[in-house]
């Protein structure tokens, strides 16, 4: 994991997703920030895990099937199935 940094994802967009949940009434600005950062870490993680499959296929371009393989193989990504 890289150095502690502020979010690159715009907090307003993340907040829009949080608002989409009818069970959520209020969310602190800090919560939205941590969600944004967590999502960035998630994107890094899934990209790296998918890339392993591209490497196996001796490709330098990450393709959709690499994602699908990673999602199927890795427990933490089960929620995406």
């Amino acid at each position: 994991p890289g150095p502690a940094r502020l979010a690159r994802l715009p907090l307003a967009r993340v907040k829009a997703l949080v608002k989409a949940d009818p069970d959520v009434s209020l969310a602190s600005q800090e919560a939205v920030f941590v969600l944004a950062r967590a999502t960035e870490l998630f994107v890094e993680t899934i990209a790296k895990d998918a890339y392993v499959y591209a490497q196996q296929g001796k490709r330098k371009t990450l393709q959709r099937k690499d994602l699908d393989n990673a999602i199927e193989a890795i427990d933490e990504f089960a929620f995406l199935e």
Partner: protein
Amino acid sequence: MAERPEDLNLPNAVITRIIKEALPDGVNISKEARSAISRAASVFVLYATSCANNFAVKGKRKTLNAGDVLSAMEEMEFQRFVAPLKESLEVYRREQKGKKEARKDKDKKADSEEQDKSREEENDDDDERMEEEEQNDEEEVDN
């Protein structure tokens, strides 16, 4: 409040940049793969929110806080995110605190000087920042 589908997407440019920085130099990503990751990221936010909300409810709180999100990460088996997230949160808190103090100093200066119409522009900036400050502690999510 109805959200248009495109509002629930995260900006492509940012997603692409994060992916590229995570991968070795010279590696490309197909448009389809990038879209799939972007969609997965949105689903991640929705799932993490729902999970975090369970912790808020358990704690009999109406406001989802940072701790709830961290608990959600553990629940979702992303424990390895917790330490870097805590670090980021500390930096964020320091920055927010710095902003508040800068505003307090500016307000003190404004009070000690006489009212001046030519400073109307400056006051508009202050109003904008004051709105931000109100939102600092809680973001009201209308549902």
